[in-house]
Amino acid sequence: MLSIPEWEYLGVIGLGLAAWLIGRLRPDILAPFGLLVARLMHHRNNRLAIMIIWWWLGWHFFTV
């Protein structure tokens, strides 16, 4: 039996996958995820913050 947080994590992952799929199959409903990332990474503000968060994830999981 899964705990409540596990259901929540799975729910977000499931919805994320659905949003990603809709973006690929029906770009008129949701923009493709890659396009959203490209838009975010266009700004240095976002680029710096997102890379720091990405790097921290690696640090957190590989060194703890």
Partner: protein, 190 residues
Amino acid sequence: MLWLKNVLTGINPWLPVFAFVTLFHLIRESYIDATIFAVGSVVLVLDWKKLLRWRMPKRRRLKGSTLIIAVALSCSVLFFSDRGGWQDVILLLAIGATSLYLVYYQDRGPKPSGNGTMVRTKWIWMTLAIFMAVSELFAYIWAEVFKDSNTYPTISIIVNPILDSPYGRALFLLLWILIGLGLLRSGRSR
């Protein structure tokens, strides 16, 4: 209040998020994580206040062969060394510095389109990210309050046993590296 408006003009919107995360890690006595986000906050402030005096470079291009060698080397070290060993620490510090170096360039060209679909997409992904963060935060709080991390597991608690196995570690490594490469190469052809 005019002085406040002047001080905050052009603030990087990620800065309050980083400040909150720094404070959160300080409260949970996770000092290394707090230091990482504090240093990240300093980087954002330096960039926002234009305190980095060197000339803003153009986007750097990396050769495919350089990337392949760097990825192969990084994956080998992170996979074969002990988890959290000095090799991992040195490599991750090098990856962090290189990543920041590669994304620190002047914004160029038109911003990719921002129509209604894009706005909707942005809000949906933002909602999912916030929901995930809040779920994780509350799992951590309940686990602390009730001293029960089995009923209220954070993502780290779930992922740790997977990362201790070589297969889980290889999978996470592949995902992490691919996401990083995707972010670095994002929007290159546009």
